[in-house]
């Protein structure tokens, strides 16, 4: 686990130098918000409508920005054969995987926090709920655990830029379905009792995806 954190710290250092991932994800997420405000311009005047649209808008931003991030999650390792060096390191593939997941979750949470702030400003709608934070974290864990695995998987494929979103989205449905439903319930004023079922499904899938992905990860990076 300590070794996994080393991997995450390494990625943070690279990101702190280049900042290409964070910047592009943030801008992309912001642009999607703008597109939505144009698309739903007639609906955004009342806060009741925002409560209905908000969950969908936010999660689409998270998913699109996250997908953009995943396409780069392993790109830095394939350059100059860095992945070979990483495999020589005295650590299990599970550590590499977990390190990447920790890094991706952190980056995504930063992007998501800023997106939510921008959303509150642009749509004049405040969400201050600890439940919302829990749902977003739960969704992000599931999202990153599948995303990192597939990001490594597509590195050996011809059309990897096209294939990643196509592979990712169907697998994410079990995570997105409860996350969006729970967010939408919170926006409509739901309390913990109303979203317990969703939270249970969400975290069960987080654990399942993390466990399965850590086991199969070594087969993805083996050649």
């Amino acid at each position: 686990m300590i070794k996994a954190l080393h991997i995450a710290v390494k990625d943070f250092r690279i990101e702190a130098h280049a900042k290409e991932l964070l910047n592009s994800m943030l801008l992309f997420s912001f642009l999607i918000l703008v597109v939505f405000s144009i698309a739903f311009s007639e609906l955004t005047s009342s806060s009741g409508n925002i409560a209905m649209l908000g969950a969908g808008v936010l999660w689409i931003c998270f998913v699109f920005a996250g997908t953009l991030g995943f396409s780069r999650a392993f790109a830095s390792e394939t350059q100059n054969g860095a992945i070979q060096a990483l495999k020589i390191c005295p650590m299990s593939p599970i550590s590499i995987y977990l390190g990447k997941v920790v890094f991706t979750i952190s980056i995504m949470l930063i992007v998501e926090a800023i997106t939510v702030i921008l959303f509150s400003i642009l749509f004049n709608y405040t969400i201050l709920s600890p439940l919302f934070v829990i749902v977003v974290i739960g969704g992000t864990i599931g999202f990153a655990s599948v995303g990192v695995l597939l990001s490594a998987l597509v590195q050996n494929i011809k059309a990897k830029e096209i294939m990643l979103p196509v592979l990712l989205l169907p697998l994410l449905v079990p995570v997105l379905l409860p996350a969006v439903s729970a967010t939408s319930a919170i926006f409509k004023g739901g309390d913990l009792g109303m979203i317990t079922t969703y939270l249970r499904i969400l975290f069960v899938y987080d654990i399942v995806f993390l466990a399965v992905a850590s086991i199969v990860f070594e087969y993805v990076i083996e050649d």
Partner: protein, 233 residues
Amino acid sequence: MNYGKYERVTSLLSGILMTAAVYSVFFVLPVMKDDSGNALDTSFNIFYFHLPIAIISYIAFTVVFIANVQYLRTREISWDILARSSAEIGLIFAFLVLASGSVWAKHIWGWYWVWEPRLTTSLVLFLVYAVYLLLRNSIDAVESRARLSSVFGIVGFVSVPLSFFSIRLWRSAHPLMFGDSLYGQSGGGLEGTTLQTVLLINVAAFISLYIALLIYKLGNEYLLENIEELKNF
């Protein structure tokens, strides 16, 4: 590998069972009556196709999953051939589940499609395996194609239990036939020996159809492998 004999036996068997199944659904089933004795809508009869098709798609994808795990463990190409053969058949059945369900839904609910959890997860199941086959097509190298698609198949398989249990987790418009649901009533069940027999014949017919198709497909895939080998010779 030569499957000629099995091909003939299983296709004959599934042909006979299929004829019996179709005959029993259209001619043997009694007209269903409700409590006050009025004849019920016969559109329910599509259920005798809908359920076996759904069962077959689950079986086919379970076979894919087992073959994927076995491939990663043993690295024998025959497991990969089994996985891709079963995935293609499963995809067809997953589509037929959606199609037969939609026809039925149009009649009962008035819409071909409603966005409710059971239907959504069935659709996602279909999409996962459509993407699985797409992934297979986009990798050229035999070894990495088998390995990477196995990984995807294993992760994708976790969406199957979700599809299966979603009906118990969410309130759903989709009826539940067996077991207990959250909304009070236990499964509707089927009463009467005739109905159960008809259902059993249909399930048996579709299982034998799956086996027949799988054997045909496996035979074709092995021939394809042989051709590739001869080409590279």
